[in-house]
């Protein structure tokens, strides 16, 4: 095989694969540990959706901001948030990304441009308008990206933000991660016009729909959208049609799905399998080169879990820090 047919170097391809594989291992491990009762609270897993996070975030630097959703682990990892600190946070331990005060739904690391997973659906969109406004004042070509699910795209905040971003011509990008379900409710029921490109069009924004399980489709579309925003072309919307391997939250039996749906998703729409097939078929990366990454990702996650389990819990002294306390 002569040459690399992809628009990324081999090293970049390996990095993208590592990102996706790390997310997958992280989420699958949480699925198991949550089931065992090791993890407090709610977790919402990103497994199955990795190609979107990886395909978009590979274009970004720390100065570019993202605001995530309740299903934010994948965005965090792809944006460069430390996996060990994330695991500590999810276990509610000291030293976590938020010192145990945020948990799964609120992991943030502003030094990495990660403005937080968000427990309020649709809340990230206005924040991203602000981040994009700040970027516009800074004039360094930074962009800001709001992730939103198909369900939360019905929130007024999201729709208002499309308008605000358009009228202020902000370097803001709205990524709709359309996995077909708002919690248990199908988009067929909950979305009057099940096209996010149409919603963008209603505000005069260009929109693209891509197969969110295809890393390369996401990569190329996101690249164009981000370049456009960096150069002053203003906001756009990217709809990634994708699949969710797990339930809305852990513990969700997913009885709302059709028969065989989950098996089909895992068999035929696994973005990691697709990626591996594409790069091996092209002869750029061999299966032998991917295997060590799989092992390393697993090791990273296992190490993070071990450290998280061993880490100290916050104490009463932590209860009243990081906020001013009146009387």
């Amino acid at each position: 095989m002569a040459g690399n047919p992809f628009p990324l170097s081999k090293a970049e391809l390996l990095k993208a694969y590592r990102t996706m594989r790390t997310i997958r291992e992280f989420e699958e491990r949480l699925h198991v540990d949550f089931g065992r009762g090791d993890i407090p609270g709610f977790v919402h897993l990103y497994a199955g959706e990795e190609a979107a996070a990886a395909g978009i975030m590979i274009h970004l630097g720390d100065g570019d901001r993202i605001a995530s959703t309740h299903r934010g682990h994948g965005h965090c990892i792809a944006k460069g948030v430390d996996v060990g600190e994330m695991m500590l946070e999810i276990y509610g331990k000291k030293g976590g990304s938020c010192n145990g005060k945020g948990g799964s739904m609120h992991i943030a690391d502003l030094s990495k441009g990660m403005m937080g997973a968000n427990g309020i659906l649709g809340a990230g969109a206005p924040l991203v308008c602000g981040a994009a406004l700040a970027a516009k004042y800074r004039k360094k070509g930074e962009v800001a990206i709001s992730f939103v699910g198909d369900g939360a795209s019905n929130q007024g905040t999201f729709l208002e933000s499309l308008n605000l971003a358009a009228v202020w011509n902000l370097p803001a990008i709205f990524v709709v991660e359309n996995n077909g379900y708002a919690e248990s409710t199908s988009r067929d029921y909950g979305v009057a016009v099940d096209s996010y490109v149409d919603r963008a069009a209603g505000f005069g924004l260009p929109g693209i729909t891509v197969d969110g399980t295809d890393f390369f489709a996401v990569y190329e579309a996101a690249g164009e959208i981000i370049r456009r925003a960096r150069e002053g072309g203003g906001p756009s919307l990217l709809e990634c049609k994708m699949v969710r391997f797990h339930g809305h939250f852990e513990g969700d039996a997913q009885t709302y799905r059709g028969p065989g749906e989950l098996d089909d998703i895992r068999a035929n729409h696994d973005c990691l399998k697709k990626f591996a097939a594409q790069v091996t078929a092209a002869g750029v990366i061999s299966a032998d080169e991917l295997a060590p990454i799989d092992r390393e990702a697993l090791a990273v996650v296992e190490d993070a879990v071990a450290r998280a389990k061993a880490a100290p819990l916050p104490t009463v002294a932590d209860l009243t820090t990081d906020v001013y306390v009146s009387y």
Binding site: A2, D188, A201, T209
Partner: protein, 363 residues
């Protein structure tokens, strides 16, 4: 036909006109609401002319959900529609949905298939129909980005023409027209596909966001027809040497590596909102049945505007034009024939607002 209920199929692609050309070239986006309205107008038209059953492709892109809501409202208002049934399939929001729908429609024996989409959607339907060899005609409605193949026409009129054919009011020899296509074969049929308008060879070797719009990557174009009024990569041929939809043969265009080595530098509308200078090396007629071997070591074949078939050095890529490959409903001829024959004239029936038309065999 003409005996029993006349049935047609509709395949409406919810995600055509959604690709990256919205961002890079201000291409239009036809909203789901508009696509649903187009379908509703087709339904009204075919019902008025005697089609009382329509089979539709289900989708997860919003058309089925909105259409179902709208049909409910229309029925509340006592508007008349044919029975609309969604095919028994689980949509997965890829081109496979179109393949499966075409397969099911073919099996159900519909008289014609109305297709809403661009060149890519029509290609997918035809590809599947080619496997079945039933000769079911299609009628295209432009709802895509590049719409060289489907004609720009009000959907009501297309629906009328389809009904005139489906009910047998106009015989197939008058109602239908033959079409060319291009077959692409890699390694003697190991991989095989078709194009309705253009098979374009690009140096790019990955599929990515599918749409092809970077002219510097183009190697050669194989065209079934080349219309100066068309948009898309076939416009390159259209501006060099027009070849009609119904003319015999096609056109092969070979691009130069750069402007310096080009015989001609041609400015062509290669996508909506995008004119580019394309360096042309030479072009030649493409007689039917003659295989052209692509002299490129590794690249991708884009079919009707979308990257589909990557190939490596050593892969043997051959391109062949086929004539009379499949049928389309000739809307213009149907409507002119109907006018000429007075098919839509009928005695005044004040007590019936919605006459149910009896199929009338045409001369």
């Amino acid at each position: 036909m003409g005996e029993g209920p006349a049935t047609i199929g509709i395949i409406a692609n919810p995600v055509s006109a959604r690709d990256i050309r919205r961002v890079v070239a201000n291409a239009s986006n036809l909203q789901i609401a508009d696509r649903v309205n187009i379908v509703l107008r087709v339904l009204t038209a075919v019902h008025s002319l005697g089609v009382n059953r329509v089979l539709m492709m289900p989708d997860r892109g919003g058309i089925r959900a909105m259409l179902s809501r709208h049909l409910g409202r229309e029925r509340n208002l006592h508007h008349q529609f044919p029975a609309v049934e969604f095919l028994d399939m689980e949509p997965i929001s890829t081109v496979d949905d179109t393949f499966q729908a075409a397969r099911l429609l073919q099996a159900s024996g519909v008289a014609a298939i109305v297709v809403l989409g661009g060149d890519g959607t029509h290609r997918a339907v035809v590809r599947e129909l080619m496997n079945g060899d039933t000769g079911i005609p299609i009628a295209g409605l432009s709802t895509g980005t590049n719409n060289a193949f489907p004609e720009m026409r009000e959907s009501t009129l297309t629906g009328m023409a389809v009904a005139l054919h489906a009910t047998g009011m106009i015989a197939p020899e008058y109602a239908l027209a033959p079409n060319k296509l291009i077959e692409v074969s890699i390694n003697e049929g190991q991989r095989h596909d078709i194009a309705l308008v253009d098979a374009v060879i690009s140096h790019e070797r990955h599929i990515g966001a599918r749409a092809l719009w970077k002219t510097e990557s183009l190697h050669s174009l194989y065209l079934t027809f080349a219309d100066p009024e068309a948009i898309g990569l076939s416009a390159i041929g259209g501006m060099l040497q027009p070849v009609g939809r119904r003319d015999p043969g096609g056109l092969a265009v070979h691009l130069a590596d750069d402007g310096a080595s080009a015989g001609v530098l041609l400015r062509a509308p290669i996508a909506p909102g995008m004119l580019r200078d394309v360096p042309i090396a030479h072009w030649e007629p493409m007689p039917a049945g003659q295989a052209f071997t692509v002299p490129l070591q590794g690249g991708v074949v884009a079919l009707d505007g979308e990257r589909e078939m990557p190939f490596d050095a050593g892969d043997r890529v051959r391109v062949t034009l086929r004539e009379n490959a499949f049928s389309t409903v000739d809307v213009a001829r149907c409507l002119h024939t109907a006018a000429h024959m007075g098919l839509l004239r009928h005695p005044s029936q004040p007590h019936r607002r919605h006459p149910s038309w009896q199929a009338t065999r045409s001369p």
